[in-house]
Amino acid sequence: MSALLIAEHDNKEVKPFTLNAITAASQIDQDLHVLVIGKNVDAVSKSISEVPNVKKVIQIDNEIYENFLAENFAPVIVKEAENYSHIVCSANTFGKNLMPRVAALLDISQVSDIIKVISADTFLRPIYAGNAFATVKSNDSKKCITIRPTSFDPAPTTGGSAEIVKAESGEATVLNKFIKREEIKSDRPELGTARIVISGGRGMGSGENFKLITEIADKLNAAIGASRAAVDAGYITNDHQVGQTGKVVVPDLYIAVGISGAIQHLAGMKESKVIVAINKDGEAPIFSVADYGLEADLFEALPQFLEELNKLNTIQK
């Protein structure tokens, strides 16, 4: 049997994490097929067909799939699932929303958010906000799995030439109606894939003060993150939230500023390669995961940090 990966895309381009999911799925089964569901998605299918690990692309194209409603996606995925041993998707809001609906229709107990493939039926996954790792074995004959994209490298994007086949679309449901999506567009690197992330917490005190972080992010070509407290306080929009219920990031460098380090925030960043904490409370839990801790008032430290960075001329944009 083969594995079927559900691609995430925006109808124009494949989303970067689909490439990480391809890596994970091909570790489960080398005969990997990718299902592209959307509206006018020829270009998406084409680019996925060029990923060397992909053996076949199945495209289901219909305007009813334009807005990725799980109610419309699930029935056609269930139909395609017949020929596969594993149905896989990345564990971001797209996959988290979709996969359980598919799994329930197939009567499968889903394995969520895996960080390692041990064998075709056994996986490692974090539980309790990453405070424990569970090794779990699925005894269902077919498996539904979501993967944590940051735990797998992205697959290469060129060199492959998988065949693209078209499959029939399903019916539109009348259960709900898409109204709008408010995407926050930015020239910065994406939070999920950035090499450097600098995040602010409640200690920032206001949305305006985030400019201290923005300036450093500009200098380091970093993405901007935030704790839930900062988002709740309205300092910054929700798409920046790092943590158990936000995004999980694994950058080379994570700089936490004015973040105390609640378990729920640590869950989203403690796998980062190098962690810096800047906080005036020397007892803050964030220091327990920091490689470099600076006990200082952020309003003094951040301008100095920028000044020191400006002195270096080696930083690559």
């Binding site: 424990a132 999506r181 999920g192 920091a290």
Partner: protein, 249 residues
């Protein structure tokens, strides 16, 4: 309109979870337990809708061992009218929970079912979506805003890219984000009053749902520890270390 709110009893979010030495799970003896945090938001939202005159009854349901009832009692203290406790011991996977909730929904015929978007113990993030599939209802997941309209809801979802707005038919499943509202505390008089509100107990086995786990938990271990870091004395030292020692800038 009737709202069913599902709640789960989990290790309190402030507790530093410890892994059992024999690798069979995490320590739960003598550990503070609470309602799963976003489930509190689900109850709060239902109560607000009722207070606004748009709902007539709130029923809170939980699935789990004897003590899971505490979460329903808390929901009653905050404003739910009555409770249902479906008793089952051991690990109950989201698929089994959603099948149990489907049976409860068949019986109670709610217009809306609310619950938290994710339980903070197993971090599965599945039950609401699965229940929506089994009932063939629309699902509004990760919701941070709800507007109740005549025969629909206008909801705002928190997605990776930002926010998404949907109009969802009723009946519907809504899974709640922590930003949906600010859960209230139960007042002492309301806690006393809640003790008199009814909680119906049902055995999961009587519902005809097979709750046997399909996923074997082979072992639970501590995550790899990070090596202990250092404190730096100044910003200049920090930048020097990042450049020359960690080589990340």
């Amino acid at each position: 309109m009737k709202i069913l709110v599902a709640v789960k009893r989990v290790i309190d979010y402030n507790v530093q979870v410890r892994v059992k030495e024999d690798g069979s799970g995490v320590v739960t003896d003598n550990v503070k337990m609470s309602t799963n945090p976003p489930d509190d938001n689900a109850i709060e939202e239902a109560v607000k809708i009722k207070e606004a005159g748009k709902a007539t009854e709130i029923v809170s349901v939980t699935v789990g061992e004897e003590k899971a009832q505490e979460t329903v009692r808390k929901a009653l203290a905050v404003g739910a009218d009555r409770g249902i406790h479906v008793k089952v011991d051991g690990i109950v996977e989201p698929l089994a929970v959603s099948k149990i909730l489907q049976k409860i929904a068949d019986k109670e015929k709610p217009d809306l079912i609310f619950m938290g978007k994710q339980a903070i113990d197993d971090d599965c993030n599945q039950t609401g979506q699965m229940l929506a599939a089994l009932l063939n209802w629309p699902q509004a997941t990760f919701v941070s805003k709800i507007e109740v309209k005549d025969k629909s809801l206008e909801i705002t979802r928190e997605v990776d890219e930002g926010l998404e707005t949907l109009e969802t038919n009723i009946p519907a499943i809504v899974t709640c984000d922590l930003r949906l509202n600010e859960p209230r505390y139960a007042s002492l008089p309301n806690i006393m009053k809640a003790k008199k509100k009814p909680i119906e107990q049902i055995n999961a086995s009587d519902l005809g749902v097979d709750t046997k786990p399909r996923i074997e938990q082979i072992k639970v271990e501590e995550p790899p520890k990070r090596k202990t870091g250092i404190k730096v004395a100044s910003v200049a030292e920090l930048v020097e270390k990042l450049k020359n020692e960690a080589k990340v800038i």
